[in-house]
Symmetry: C2
Subunit: 126 residues, 2 copies
Amino acid sequence: MGSNGIVLFAHGARDARWAEPFERLATRLRELRGADAGPVSLAFLELMTPDLPSAVADQASAGASVVTVVPVFFGQGGHIRRDLPVILDQCRAANPDVEIRCSVAVGEDADVIEAIAGYCLRQASS
Amino acid sequence: MGSNGIVLFAHGARDARWAEPFERLATRLRELRGADAGPVSLAFLELMTPDLPSAVADQASAGASVVTVVPVFFGQGGHIRRDLPVILDQCRAANPDVEIRCSVAVGEDADVIEAIAGYCLRQASS
């Protein structure tokens, strides 16, 4: 039985420092999951590498039988509603033995919104 | 003494539904702060209105003496490092009696990253 991988899918930017919070997120997720749980990778829509097909292919090669793509976006705009489904279809066609799932964007989660609201509150009162 | 406003500064997108999480965030923040604490507004870098100068001017007109701008971005790329300081200078020049503060992007906060990591974990194990 293969492992269960997670790919954190982000937009990408020209400035390499833009990716730092995503790298911290991946590191924290690996800690929370433990060493045996399966791979955690980053993938980008544009301007940064790897792209999503490469990241999924890497996890498939490493033995993942399920890959969960988590869009690390706040809103579900055109990138998530229009671009991502096309890329996911490419990933599924290229990796027919892997179950490729996709969650809704992290910004839609109530706990994430609560954490951001708490941060805003601290900023305004400091 | 004026009130203490918060402007949630986001990128903007063509799809109006993209703004929904930001509207939920603003609503939640108003609940957490209480009715008397001061205004909470959204502002966008591009593709959506109002822009940041308009949102700050509105809060100034409504009597805010301090406005805290919180960039609701994950990473600190060119938009935050290069574009935002220029816009903030415009806001300060246009509203000399208002103290305009700016926090680091929400994606840099450890609690926000922890909430996103928890969300990713739930997605991969469901």
